[in-house]
């Protein structure tokens, strides 16, 4: 049993999508997500899907990577589909055992599927074309107006980027602990649910202890590198909005409006 995480893998390619300002990419993604929730009809999704296709093609990201983002959620998507299919009231189009599929249910189910796929594809594309640092920089920059009312924008962004930095470290560590416990005869994959949960304890305890040690080390390492919060801190990467950024943003807004109105 080994854990793999493919979410949030940055693909450093050379495309104009990659070169877009991460703040613009984040805003466009947010606009699209909101639009997805507002739209109530298939036609709107078609124009949004065309936009998605355009973005994927121009980002040079192999479509396979987008599918990889969808894969872990297929079960969830199918479950939602069948729930809608069988629980919506309306004209019955087929019956199987006690389950009645309705035309309205089919429609709603399909809408949900399209919604989820678009949602995940847009966010996957974002994480494929922005490095973790660009993403957290963009978040910090977009949230910074809230600093005035005391919102810890810098701290939030810092926590995000440290979390992203340590995901691979902790995954590796978890796999190592699992192997070590299995080597000692721990059985973590069989038995009742309660038993399996109990068997997680010998994995979680060392993981937690080590994580606290890591946090302690990291805090010290940041301190010796003169970290003292966001105040007076500069950034190596400078983000300057270009006319291309504004162009893509305008296109995105227009498409959102069209998708909602048609």
């Amino acid at each position: 049993m080994a854990i793999e995480i493919s979410f949030g893998q940055y693909l450093p390619l050379d495309s104009f999508i990659h070169r877009l300002d991460p703040r613009i990419k984040l805003i466009i993604t947010l606009i699209n997500i909101i639009t997805i929730f507002i739209i109530k009809d298939f036609i709107g999704y078609i124009s949004l899907a065309c936009f998605l296709l355009f973005l994927i093609v121009s980002s040079k990201v192999p479509p396979l990577y987008i599918f990889r983002g969808l894969k872990p959620l297929i079960f969830f998507i199918l479950l939602t589909f069948f729930l809608h299919l069988f629980t919506t009231q309306g004209t019955v189009i087929f019956q199987w055992w006690i389950l009645k599929g309705t035309a309205e249910g089919l429609r709603n189910g399909l809408l949900m599927v399209v919604r989820f796929m678009l949602l995940i594809s847009f966010s996957t594309l974002l994480t494929l074309t922005c490095s973790p640092l660009e993403l957290t920089d963009a978040m910090e920059s977009l949230m910074s107006p809230l600093k005035r009312i005391g919102f810890p924008a810098h701290e939030m962004a810092m926590m995000m980027s440290i979390a992203l930095r340590f995901i691979p470290v902790l995954v590796e560590e978890t796999n190592r602990i699992i192997k070590a416990q299995v080597a000692r005869g721990a059985d973590i994959e069989s038995g009742s649910i309660i038993n399996r949960a109990k068997n997680l304890i010998p994995i979680l305890v060392p993981l937690f202890v080590n994580t606290f040690k890591r946090a302690d080390d990291l805090a010290l390492a940041m301190e010796v590198r003169c970290y003292r919060g966001g105040e007076g801190r500069t950034r190596m990467k400078e983000y300057v909005l270009s006319s291309l950024d504004f162009l893509i943003l305008s296109i995105s807004i227009v498409i959102a409006i069209i998708s909602i109105l048609i």
């Binding site: 890591r214 010796v224 590198r225 003169c226």
Partner: protein
């Protein structure tokens, strides 16, 4: 210009950990510090840049006392610290972004940060890996990224606290040769280690034992003093041990060889 440690004492809530430690290191000097577990090496390292403030005595960095809290950022920038675990001291996911972390904290303008990152990565030989995720690097490479992260702050001294103890022999060599090259370029190096063979090129070695300086001297004096090393639970490195054996067999050395090259020179010339 130097770090002066004068009668330094430190304790954790009343438990004395360092007592009356004295030494001095100049820029461009390489000082090795060794001692058994719990002898206070890491505590000493943290006293050198003011993370810990001396309970008694003084640590003075280029004329500034570490007790002067108004100067703490200058001191931390002047005296860089590198730690044991390469994973736990890298802050950002991408090599160059991590190296930039220190200069960013110092509030340096972006263009200069980029210059410094370039400079630091060239010094440690990782300029071609600048865009790589740190999680894809070897232990030795990660540790060199950590050194670059310190170098980018333009320190005058670097304190390394067991930087190689989690690395394989290849990584160990990479780190050690990087450090030796920095010394040549005029950086003061304080190198803490359990592996005494890494200290053969040290200008001076200080042995810590139970919070006190047990003995100090040149690399040749300390590394060939088998009795002292054994007494405080350290192992004499292979080549000095061999030299002592040969001496016992009646071979007369002017200078007891510490490295294979020296040994070969002495035996075959």
């Amino acid at each position: 210009m130097s770090i002066e440690v004068k009668n330094l004492s430190f304790d954790y809530e009343g438990i004395s950990v360092l007592r009356d430690v004295n030494f001095q290191i100049d820029r461009g000097e390489f000082i090795g510090i060794a001692g058994p577990n719990g002898s206070g090496k890491s505590t000493l390292a943290r006293c050198l840049n003011g993370i810990f403030s001396p309970v008694k005595g003084e640590v003075v960095v280029d004329g500034i006392s570490v007790k002067d809290t108004s100067k703490q950022w200058i001191i931390r920038q002047t005296v860089g610290l590198v730690f044991q675990n390469p994973d736990n001291q890298l802050v950002a996911s991408i090599v160059e972004e991590d190296v930039a972390f220190g200069p960013e904290n110092l509030g340096i303008p972006p263009a200069i940060i980029r210059e410094r990152v370039q400079y630091a990565l060239e010094r440690v030989g990782l300029i071609n890996e600048r865009k790589r995720p740190v999680s894809s690097l070897s232990g030795g490479q990660k540790q060199r990224v950590a050194i670059a992260g310190i170098l980018a702050m333009r320190p005058e001294y670097i304190v390394l606290d067991e930087p190689t103890s989690m690395l394989d022999p290849v990584g160990r060599k990479e780190v050690l040769s990087t450090v030796l090259q920095l010394k040549e370029e005029g950086v003061g190096i304080i190198y803490i280690t359990h592996h005494l063979e890494e200290l053969v090129y040290a200008d001076k070695i200080i042995l810590l034992y139970k919070g006190e300086v047990f003995k100090e001297g040149s690399a040749r004096e300390i590394l060939t003093d088998e009795e002292t090393l054994t007494r405080i639970g350290l192992e004499i490195p292979e080549i000095p041990a061999l030299s002592l054996r040969l001496k016992g067999l009646g071979i007369d050395f002017n200078e007891t060889p510490l490295t294979i090259e020296e040994m070969v020179n002495v035996l075959f010339n």
